[in-house]
C-alpha cells in the first residue's frame, strides 16, 4: 500500500470519546490515538490472496463468500454463485450506483452519530457490505463475510459501513468474520445498520479474531418492524481494545430480539460490550445473555441498557451477564441499566462474577482427569449456553476450538 499523505488520518480531528464520557468511563481510547493511520484503500491486484484467505473462513458448511480488504470490497475474492435473483449481496459503492433509491431509503436512517468513532466512520467510509433480501425471500445459505484488515508497513484505518435490509417475510443469516494481518497496529471502525422488516428473521453472527495489536470498534444498530426476530451473536477473541455497541429499536408490536455474547480476553486485552434494547411498543420480548472469560491482566466491561418506554406494556425483557476470572489480575466492570416507564412488564437482570467452581473441579478430578483438562471442561461448560445458541451446527465446535486456542489451554472436544 502506498503511503499517500492525502490519506493520512488525523484522529484528533474527530471528537473521540474520553473516559469523562459516562458511556466510555472504563474504556480509554488514548492508546488508539498514539498512531497515525492511512485510510484503507483497494489493493488493486488481489488475486494472489485468494488461497491465503481461504483458511480464515469457517468451514464444513455451505456459505456465500464475501471478502473485504481493509474495508474495501474485494469482488474477485468473493463468490456469490447461486444466489437467487432479486437478493443482492454487494459492496456499498456498487449498490449506490445501481440501487440509489433503495439505499437512500435505508442508509443512515437507523444509526445516529453518537460519538467520534461513528463520525469517523461516517465521514471517511466509502464502502461496506450491503445485503438486500426482498420481500418473501429466504437466503438459502449463510453469507460469510471476511473482513481482513491491517498492513505490514502502515497503520491502517478500515471504516466499513454495512447495511442489512431484510424486507417483509424474508430471512437471512450473516457471519461477519474479522481477521487481520500480523504487522503494524491498525484500527477497524465499523458501523452496521440492520433493517428487519415485518415478520423477517435476521441472524447476525460476529466473530472478531483481529490481531493482538489492533483496535476494533463497532456499532450495530438494528431497527425492527412488527413480528420480526433479530438474533445477534457476538464472539470476541482478538484485538487489544475492543468496543461493541449493539443496539436495537423495537418499534412495533410482537417483536423479538436476542443478544448473545461471549468474550474472551487474556494478556492486556480490553473488551467493552455495550448493549441497548429500546422497547418502544407493547408485547415485545428481548433476551440477552452475555458471558466473559478473562485471564491474565485483561479487563472486561459490560453495560446492558434496557429501556421500556411508557407505551411498551406487556414487555418481557431479560438480561443475564456473567464473567469468570481465571487470574487474580483480570478485572470486570459490569452495569445493568434498566429504565422502565411502563407498569405492566416483566423485566429481570442478573449479573455474576466469580472463579471456576472448585466443587465442580474436584468432581472432574475425582474421576482421574488432570487439573488442566478439568479447568478446560469447566471453561467449556461456562461458555456452553451461549455457544449452544449458534444455529449453524458446524460453527459451534469451531467456536469452541477458538475458545481453547485463544486462552492457550488444552482443548476439550465432544466427539
Amino acid at each position: 500500500m502506498g503511503n499517500d499523505l492525502l490519506n493520512m488520518i488525523e484522529l484528533r480531528d474527530f471528537n473521540l470519546p474520553t473516559t469523562k464520557n459516562e458511556d466510555w468511563k472504563y474504556t480509554n481510547v488514548a492508546p488508539i490515538m498514539k498512531y497515525n493511520y492511512v485510510l484503507g484503500t483497494s489493493l488493486g491486484n488481489e488475486d494472489h490472496l485468494s488461497s491465503v484467505l481461504d483458511e480464515y473462513f469457517f468451514q464444513d458448511f455451505d456459505y456465500y463468500k464475501v471478502v473485504f480488504i481493509n474495508g474495501i470490497f474485494a469482488g474477485k475474492l468473493s463468490d456469490l454463485t447461486g444466489l437467487e435473483s432479486g437478493i443482492i449481496v454487494d459492496s456499498l459503492s456498487n449498490f449506490q450506483k445501481n440501487n440509489s433509491e433503495l439505499l437512500s431509503k435505508h442508509l443512515n436512517k437507523y444509526s445516529a452519530i453518537d460519538n467520534g468513532f461513528n463520525e469517523l466512520n461516517n465521514s471517511l467510509s466509502s464502502d461496506g457490505l450491503v445485503v438486500y433480501v426482498p420481500k418473501g425471500k429466504v437466503v438459502d445459505k449463510p453469507i460469510q463475510v471476511l473482513y481482513f484488515n491491517g498492513d505490514k508497513t502502515e497503520n491502517v484505518l478500515s471504516v466499513p459501513k454495512n447495511l442489512i435490509i431484510a424486507e417483509e417475510n424474508s430471512q437471512v443469516s450473516i457471519i461477519a468474520n474479522y481477521h487481520g494481518i500480523k504487522g503494524k497496529e491498525y484500527l477497524t471502525n465499523v458501523v452496521t445498520e440492520v433493517y428487519a422488516g415485518k415478520n423477517s428473521i435476521v441472524d447476525l453472527y460476529k466473530i472478531q479474531l483481529e490481531e493482538e495489536n489492533s483496535f476494533h470498534i463497532e456499532k450495530v444498530q438494528a431497527y425492527q418492524e412488527s413480528n420480526s426476530l433479530f438474533n445477534h451473536y457476538n464472539f470476541t477473541f482478538g484485538g487489544s481494545i475492543t468496543r461493541n455497541d449493539i443496539n436495537t429499536c423495537l418499534n412495533d408490536e410482537n417483536i423479538e430480539s436476542h443478544f448473545y455474547g461471549l468474550y474472551l480476553a487474556h494478556k492486556n486485552q480490553h473488551v467493552d460490550n455495550h448493549t441497548f434494547v429500546d422497547h418502544a411498543m407493547p408485547n415485545c420480548m428481548s433476551n440477552e445473555l452475555y458471558k466473559g472469560i478473562l485471564d491474565g491482566e485483561s479487563r472486561g466491561v459490560f453495560n446492558g441498557k434496557i429501556l421500556v418506554r411508557r407505551d411498551a406494556q406487556k414487555t418481557n425483557a431479560y438480561q443475564s451477564n456473567k464473567a469468570v476470572l481465571l487470574s487474580k489480575s483480570a478485572v470486570i466492570d459490569t452495569k445493568p441499566q434498566l429504565e422502565i416507564f411502563a407498569d405492566d412488564v416483566k423485566c429481570s437482570h442478573g449479573a455474576a462474577v466469580g472463579q471456576l467452581d472448585e466443587d465442580s473441579e474436584f468432581y472432574i478430578k475425582s474421576r482421574g482427569i488432570p487439573q488442566d483438562i478439568a479447568k478446560s471442561m469447566l471453561i467449556r461448560a461456562f461458555a456452553a449456553d451461549v455457544i449452544e445458541k449458534i444455529k449453524i451446527d458446524e460453527l459451534r465446535e469451531q467456536i469452541n476450538h477458538l475458545v481453547f486456542e485463544h486462552l492457550n489451554r488444552v482443548e476439550v472436544k465432544n466427539n
Partner: protein, 254 residues
C-alpha cells in the same frame, strides 16, 4: 487395602473428624452410619482428596501408599472412587467425552493402552445395560437435566466404567425411590468382588437391605463409636441413634 489411623480433619477451620481408625480389606463391604453432622460425608470427601477438607493429623494408607500426599486425580487413578452425594452438572461436556477422558486417564496412569472407540462403546453398552440406562444419555451433557435418580445411576455407571479398587458411596441412596434404589444397588452388587472393596456412607438402613455389608460402623461427632456386623444396622433402625449415644455416655461415665 485401606488403613486409616487416628484421622483428624477440619472443614473451614472446624474439626469434624476427631480421630478415625478403620481398616478395609479387599473383598469387604463396610457401611458407615450415623446421624446428620456426624462426619460421614467428610470422611468420604477426605478419602477422595477434596481440597475443601484439611487433614490435620493421622494417616491414610491405600494399598501401601500415603493417600494424603496424592492429588485427587492420582487417588482416582490409583483406584479410589467417590460416588457423590450431589453429582455436579457439566453443561457442554457429553457423558461420552467425560467417561472416555476419565477412562483413558486412568488407563494411561496404570500403563494400559487407551480404549479404542469400539472397545469404549462395547464397555459402555455392557455397563449401562446393567443399570438400564437409555443409550441416548451418552450424547447428553454430564448430569444436565438428569433427575436425582438418573444422577445417582450415572455415578454408579462411572464407577462400573472405571473399575476402581475402593468405591466410596456417599449417601447414594438419598432421594431415590425404591425402584431406583434397587437398580443402583444391583450396580454395586455387580461391581463388588474379592479384589475390591466398598464403603457405603448412609443415614438409613434401607440401602443395606440391598447391599449387604460385612461390617457396620457408627460414626458420631467425628469418631467411630461402635462397630459390628450387619445386624448392627437393624438394631440402629429399630432403636435409633440415641440408643448408641446413651450407650456411649454410659461407657464414658464408667
Amino acid at each position: 487395602m485401606l488403613v486409616i489411623k487416628n484421622l483428624k480433619a477440619n472443614v473451614e477451620g472446624k474439626e469434624i473428624l476427631k480421630g478415625i481408625n478403620l481398616e478395609i480389606k479387599a473383598g469387604e463391604v463396610h457401611a458407615i452410619m450415623g446421624p446428620n453432622g456426624s462426619g460421614k460425608s467428610t470422611l468420604a470427601n477426605v478419602l477422595a482428596g477434596n481440597g475443601g477438607y484439611e487433614v490435620t493429623e493421622g494417616e491414610i494408607y491405600f494399598e501401601g501408599k500415603d493417600l494424603v500426599e496424592l492429588a485427587p486425580e492420582d487417588r482416582a487413578r490409583e483406584g479410589v472412587f467417590l460416588a457423590f452425594q450431589y453429582p455436579i452438572e457439566i453443561p457442554g461436556i457429553s457423558n461420552a467425552t467425560f467417561l472416555k477422558t476419565a477412562l483413558n486417564e486412568v488407563r494411561k496412569y496404570n500403563g494400559q493402552p487407551e480404549a479404542t472407540p469400539k472397545e469404549f462403546m462395547e464397555l459402555l453398552r455392557e455397563k449401562s445395560g446393567v443399570l438400564g440406562m437409555d443409550p441416548q444419555f451418552i450424547s447428553r451433557s454430564v448430569n444436565v437435566g438428569f433427575s436425582g435418580g438418573e444422577k445417582k445411576r450415572n455415578e454408579i455407571l462411572q464407577m462400573l466404567m472405571l473399575q476402581p479398587k475402593l468405591a466410596l458411596l456417599d449417601e447414594t441412596d438419598s432421594g431415590l425411590d425404591i425402584d431406583a434404589l434397587k437398580i443402583v444397588s444391583s450396580g454395586v452388587n455387580v461391581f463388588k468382588n474379592k479384589d475390591n472393596a466398598v464403603l457405603l456412607v448412609t443415614h438409613y438402613q434401607r440401602l443395606l437391605n440391598y447391599i449387604v455389608p460385612d461390617f457396620v460402623h457408627v460414626l458420631s461427632k467425628g469418631r467411630i463409636i461402635k462397630s459390628g456386623g450387619k445386624e448392627l444396622a437393624l438394631e440402629l433402625e429399630e432403636k435409633g441413634y440415641d440408643w448408641i449415644k446413651n450407650d456411649e455416655l454410659i461407657e464414658e461415665n464408667v
